[in-house]
């Protein structure tokens, strides 16, 4: 297994393959800035929750020239930020549950957003783990050559976490099997 590209995003910085990308905005607004600079032609972006926006822009920047067979992501707090946003729509006395928010109350939706955009019809998986290192054995086991009938060559893998507004971090990698 070898890592060919890597991106790290925090509310104040973006680092692609070791090089800092200069951004003006911070927090949630920075994700919009990245979208406008690197994507631009996918208005569905604005419907996404922060976790999906984060994973989506990170994937878009990384996958410019690479096709991947699978998307395997993880984090610690699942979809809790969006769960809380949905909860606000069903508060007592003002009960109007929002289907557009409910659909994002699953953390694997971000893998679906990336799969739709990049036409990934291979595996998409999402794990909730204590720390980013815990994903390593899962990726190793998933990419093991002996197991896969559909032979995974390239995987987009990593950590996408968003627990509160303007608080997030992502570290995504493109991993090759040889």
């Amino acid at each position: 297994m070898r890592v060919t590209h890597q991106i790290e995003i925090s509310p104040t910085s973006v680092v692609l393959d070791g090089q800092t990308i200069v951004v003006e905005a911070v927090g949630d607004a920075m994700l919009v800035e990245l979208y406008r600079r690197y994507v631009c032609d996918y208005p569905k972006f604005f419907k996404m929750d922060t976790l999906s926006r984060l994973g989506f822009v990170a994937a878009e920047i990384l996958l410019k020239e690479t096709k991947v067979d699978a998307v395997i992501l993880a984090n610690r707090s699942a979809s809790i930020k969006n769960d809380n946003d949905y909860l606000a729509t069903i508060s007592e006395g003002r009960y109007y549950p929002s289907p557009a928010l409910f659909v994002y109350t699953l953390p694997n939706i971000v893998t679906g957003e990336i799969a739709i955009r990049r036409h990934v019809q291979g595996e998409t998986s999402f794990y909730v783990l204590d720390k980013p290192d815990d994903l390593d054995p899962i990726i190793r086991a998933t990419m093991s050559n002996d197991l896969q009938s559909s032979n995974l060559q390239t995987v987009l893998a990593g950590w996408v976490e968003c627990s509160e507004p303007n608080r997030f971090n992502a570290k995504l990698q493109i991993i090759w099997n040889n």
Partner: protein, 85 residues
């Protein structure tokens, strides 16, 4: 009626997260689904919720939405004659 249409456009933009769009960008007679605004099935459900929340209209059968959600104008006409608030 025209006032309701303008108000409805703003509510749609907000409910469906159309960043950067202003009411002037939406043609009241253009189709909402497919061409035009390009809404999908989740948006349709969100519009059903908007009718309930803002106008007290309950649509129980999502299929009946098809005729109502043809355009902003057809939506406004339906609201005009069915609103309870």
């Amino acid at each position: 009626m025209e006032q309701l249409i303008e108000q409805l456009k703003s509510q749609i933009i907000e409910a469906l997260n159309f960043e950067d769009m202003t009411p002037a960008d939406i043609d009241a007679d253009a189709p909402l689904f497919g061409e035009g605004l390009g809404l999908d099935s989740i948006d349709a459900l969100e519009l059903i919720m908007l009718l309930d929340r803002e106008y007290g209209i309950k649509l129980s059968d999502p299929k009946s939405g098809k005729a109502i959600f043809q355009s902003v104008r057809t939506m406004a006409e339906y609201i005009q004659s069915n609103r309870t608030k």
